[in-house]
Every structure is written in structure tokens, then in C-alpha cells.
């Protein structure tokens, strides 16, 4: 048991002689070689990295969106055009439309008319170049029992043959573009902010993917790119903008931007365009002749989770007389109302 005796240990190798014995050299060399091979094995997944996974020098040195000069922005847009061309083979129109003066966007959704067909969900995915695999969707349509507004038991997986089901009602939820946005407050790097027209945007090149904003949002409106988004080449929407629907990279957040590449040039958002029932309303709330102004002034309106103080710019409203799907108009019911009214 010489090992436990420190005196014996120190005597071997004797002081003054060349430090390492052959046995020690082989033993320690084997340990180092095995350690290096373990390190190499642990790092071996890195061999799957492609050029696209790493930022270019230009991308790495790019400034925050708000600090970019017009020339910087033009360079960034050109870089995005080249990346899109390389990755998808599409000549994209990448722009950066500024917010319009005297415009504050507001969304209205008529829950008396929504039938829960989910066309808005898919039009949004197609318009905003969201990942198809894994799927990313900004809009979530909740199905609830008539007479209740219990989000806890709401179902977004409903799949009947036909919608609406007579005893259900439907509530699409997406980014509410809050005037007091909790997602913006929690961002540690200021990669997300509220624009003057009320749209909360993300600089995808500045986001570090910490997902604090996803946790802070009471509406579950923010989405994270767990992997590199996959979009088929023939499904790319070439009308892109820096702050909205340009292809995102792995590890960044994204969210609904009210289709700002459309709405800031006067067009209506894609979810509204496709809605077969006209339940969706959009416009400039500062314009007294706009539809949303009329809705806020005259219709019965509510916001989701008003108690959390987020001041949404997304309003749900309903009509004096709601949907009549609970009592289908059939020959049997003809004249029923006359008798009841008499």
C-alpha cells in the first residue's frame, strides 16, 4: 500500500530526474488521446452544419434595425434577396415599408359570423412564408360551447365534416398588437418593439431566441422556430418585407404583423381577404369613416383578457341578432315566427 504513503509517492520519481516515467507517459497519453476522442465524438453532430446555419460576417456585424442608416437597410435587403435566391431560387421583392402617418391599425372580428372554417389560418401561412414542417401558424381558432367563454376547455383540434356545428361558436385568436405589450417589455435585447402604427414587430436578425416574449404573451401569439423553417420552393410568397414575412432562420421568434407588407401599402391583410363570411374587419381607427371606427363606436365590442391590461388593438364584436345555426330554416319552421310573434 505504498500509494497511501505520501512519502513513498514523493520519492518516485526522485527530485532532479527527468519528470515522467515511461509508464506514466503511456498512461497519461492514453488518457489525453481518449479524452480528445470523446470530445470529438461529442462534437461530431457539428459536421451536419451547413453554410446556411452560420451567419455571414455581414450578417454578424449588422446593426439593430433602428440603428441602421438607409444605406445599411438597403444592403440588408440586398443580402436577404440573395439568400432567398440561393435558398429558394425565387426573385423576391424585399421591401421595408415605413409606418404611415396618421394611421393606427385596428382589427375587428365578428364572432356572430365566424364559422370556424380555418381558411384564415392557411391564408396566413401562405402569405407570411411560415414554416410548413414543422408547422407554424399565427392564428388559432378556438371552438367553444355556445353560452360559455371558457378558454381552458376550448378546442382547436375540432374536425367535424362541416362547420359551424350548431351548438358551438368559434373564436380565432392571433396577435392582438397590444398598446401595452408585455412581450416587448420582457425582451432582453430589444429585438421586438411597437411601431407608430401600432404593429409590434421583430428584428429577426437581432432576436436571440430566448422565448421570454412567448412566455409573456397572454394570447399565445408568438411562435418559435425550433428548426430551420421548411417552405417548398413553389409556395414562397415573393412579396416580402424586412419586418414581416421574409424567411426566418432557426432559433428566432416570429408573430403576426397584420401583414404589414400589405397593409402599409393600403391592402387588406391576407386572413381578411380569404374569410368567406366577412367576419374580419381591418382599418385605420383614426379615420372616422373607416369600418373599424364604426364598429368601435356602434357595435358591442370586447377584448380578450381585458383584465391583464394589455390594451389590445384586436376587438371582438357581435351583432344584435347572432348566428341562427341553432335553428335551421327548414320548411318545418316556416311561419313559426309569425305564430310566436302573434
Amino acid at each position: 500500500m505504498a500509494d497511501v504513503n505520501p512519502v513513498a509517492n514523493h520519492s518516485q520519481p526522485p527530485p532532479g530526474e527527468a519528470g515522467v516515467s515511461r509508464r506514466q507517459f503511456l498512461g497519461q497519453g492514453a488518457a489525453v488521446a481518449a479524452g480528445l476522442s470523446a470530445l470529438a465524438a461529442a462534437m461530431s453532430p457539428l459536421r451536419h452544419l451547413s453554410d446556411d446555419d452560420l451567419p455571414s460576417v455581414e450578417e454578424f456585424l449588422q446593426k439593430h434595425y433602428k440603428e441602421m442608416t438607409p444605406a445599411d437597410k438597403e444592403r440588408a435587403l440586398e443580402r436577404i434577396r440573395e439568400q432567398v435566391k440561393k435558398r429558394y431560387g425565387v426573385d423576391a421583392k424585399v421591401s421595408d415599408p415605413p409606418p404611415l402617418d396618421g394611421v393606427e391599425f385596428v382589427y375587428g372580428l365578428n364572432i356572430s359570423r365566424c364559422i370556424g372554417c380555418r381558411k384564415c389560418v392557411h391564408a396566413c401561412v401562405a402569405e407570411n412564408n411560415q414554416s410548413r414542417s414543422p408547422e407554424i401558424q399565427y392564428i388559432r381558432v378556438l371552438e367553444m360551447e355556445k353560452g360559455s367563454i371558457d378558454l381552458e376547455t376550448a378546442n382547436h383540434h375540432y374536425d367535424p365534416d362541416q362547420v359551424p356545428r350548431p351548438d358551438k361558436w368559434y373564436m380565432p385568436v392571433q396577435c392582438h398588437q397590444c398598446a401595452n405589450p408585455p412581450c416587448v417589455k420582457v425582451c432582453p435585447v430589444e429585438a421586438t418593439w411597437q411601431e407608430p402604427d401600432g404593429i409590434t414587430v421583430i428584428d429577426y436578425d437581432w432576436c436571440i431566441g430566448c422565448r421570454y416574449c412567448e412566455a409573456a404573451c397572454p394570447y399565445f401569439a408568438r411562435r418559435f422556430n425550433f428548426t430551420r423553417p421548411e417552405i417548398p420552393k413553389d409556395e414562397i410568397n415573393p412579396n416580402m418585407s424586412y419586418l414581416s414575412n421574409r424567411p426566418r432562420s432557426k432559433g428566432v421568434m416570429e408573430k403576426c404583423t397584420f401583414c404589414l407588407h400589405r397593409t402599409r401599402v393600403g391592402q387588406l391583410p391576407a386572413c381578411l381577404e380569404v374569410c368567406p363570411t366577412g367576419s374580419r374587419k381591418f382599418g385605420n381607427v383614426l379615420d372616422p369613416n373607416s369600418e373599424v371606427h364604426y364598429i368601435l363606436k356602434n357595435k358591442r365590442v370586447f377584448v380578450l383578457k381585458a383584465d391583464v391590461g394589455t390594451l389590445p388593438r384586436f376587438f371582438y364584436y357581435f351583432d344584435e341578432r347572432g348566428s341562427r345555426y341553432h335553428e335551421p330554416i327548414t320548411p318545418d319552421t316556416k311561419g313559426k315566427e309569425l305564430k310566436e310573434g302573434a
Binding site: G35, A41, S133, H156, D319, L338
Partner: protein, 215 residues
């Protein structure tokens, strides 16, 4: 240094390397296979495309309504079974008479409250006879579809008419099949509700977890 320690260290490292390369617990991606989106799900065409013209197609020929009705009188009351236009089922609530809407003498027009003609391409004026609040909302834009530009100084705006969504003879908005539901990472697949499980909308359901948890 006779300690066996110096052999254990490289051995442990080698075992580590072996395990890492062997990868005994392969990564199972929770990403589900893509569900193709049907083309109709992104098609903004209105559910109906009315002609807005008083035309009738029969046996491959297109007629103006008055081509026949100029000669053939129709009965004043239409509660009885029709001999012509039998494909039309009038299920419009208490509105059970053809001439509440169609002009009794000029079949190329509709009729207003005073017996005057409403042109065929202005159906909203006809609907407004009974549906006042909805007509008011349609005029103000809170009811009905609007397509194109919200800012009309920058581009055209299309305001859809009543009958581009509603069948005047059976007005409730027709039911549609729903587009595919979410299959995203955090919204997952439907949970095992049939087994009494409470559904958590944010729960991750990996493909394998799902089939395992239902049994």
C-alpha cells in the same frame, strides 16, 4: 503511480466516445409529417358567384326571364307546388311568396315596398326591405365581405353584395368543411380526450407519445 486510476480515465473517456458515436437513444423528431393544405383553403373567391342578370338556363339555352313570363302568366300565390323552377326550394323563413321579392309584372326586376322596380344588379336594396339593421351594418362595412384595399386612395376596393354569400332562396350561410387543424409543435395533435384526459392546448404531443398515451 501504480494506481489503476490511470487506466480507468482513458477507459471512461473511450466508453464515452463509444456511447456518443453509437447513439443508443436516437433522436425522435416531434415534427409530424406535413398535412397538405387543400387549394380551396387559401382561395379568396366568394362562396357564390351570382350572375346579377335576370337570366335562366334550361336545356342548355339561356333565357331572359321575361322571354317566358311575357307570355306565360304565373299564379298569384305560390304556396302551391311549382310546375316550373322546381329546383328552387324557397326556405326563407316567413318570406314564403315569390312576389315578395320578384316583380309581379316585370320578371327582369325585383320589387320594392311601393311596387316599383329594383334592378337585378342591386339586390342589396331588395334585402334591405326586411333586413334593416344588417343593411345598415353592410353600408357601414361591419357586415359583409370587403376585398382589395382598405385605403381606397391607393387601390380599388370590392364590396361584396348580399347574394355573394347568401342564397336568397335559402339564406343561412352554407356550412363548409373545415380546413386541416393545427399540427404544430406546441399545439400538437388532439389529446386522448376519449379516455377522459383533460386537454391542455399547449401540451406537446409527439407522434409516438400520442399513440402510446391513448392505450
Amino acid at each position: 503511480m501504480k494506481s489503476p486510476f490511470q487506466f480507468w480515465v482513458p477507459l471512461a473517456f473511450l466508453v464515452c466516445a463509444g456511447v456518443l458515436l453509437w447513439d443508443p437513444v436516437p433522436f425522435v423528431s416531434p415534427v409530424a409529417a406535413r398535412v397538405p393544405t387543400p387549394a380551396w383553403a387559401t382561395d379568396p373567391t366568394p362562396v357564390r358567384q351570382p350572375k346579377l342578370k335576370p337570366e335562366y338556363v334550361a336545356a342548355g339555352f339561356t333565357y331572359q326571364c321575361m322571354d317566358c313570363h311575357r307570355i306565360i302568366p304565373s299564379p298569384a300565390e305560390t304556396f302551391r307546388r311549382l310546375t316550373q323552377h322546381t329546383e328552387i326550394q324557397l326556405n326563407h323563413g316567413i318570406n314564403t311568396r315569390c312576389f315578395n321579392c320578384h316583380h309581379p309584372t316585370n320578371r327582369n326586376a325585383f320589387v320594392d315596398d311601393f311596387g316599383a322596380e329594383i334592378p337585378w344588379n342591386q339586390p342589396q336594396l331588395l334585402c334591405a326591405k326586411c333586413h334593416g339593421p344588417v343593411y345598415r351594418d353592410w353600408q357601414a362595412g361591419s357586415h359583409g365581405r370587403i376585398n382589395g384595399f382598405w385605403d381606397t386612395t391607393k387601390g380599388p376596393q370590392t364590396k361584396r353584395r348580399c347574394i355573394e354569400c347568401h342564397d336568397p332562396h335559402h339564406p343561412p350561410f352554407a356550412q363548409l368543411p373545415p380546413a386541416p387543424g393545427p399540427n404544430t409543435l406546441r399545439m400538437g395533435r388532439p389529446g386522448p380526450v376519449e379516455h377522459g384526459g383533460r386537454r391542455d392546448p399547449l401540451r406537446l404531443f409527439a407522434p409516438d407519445n400520442h399513440s402510446a398515451s391513448t392505450h
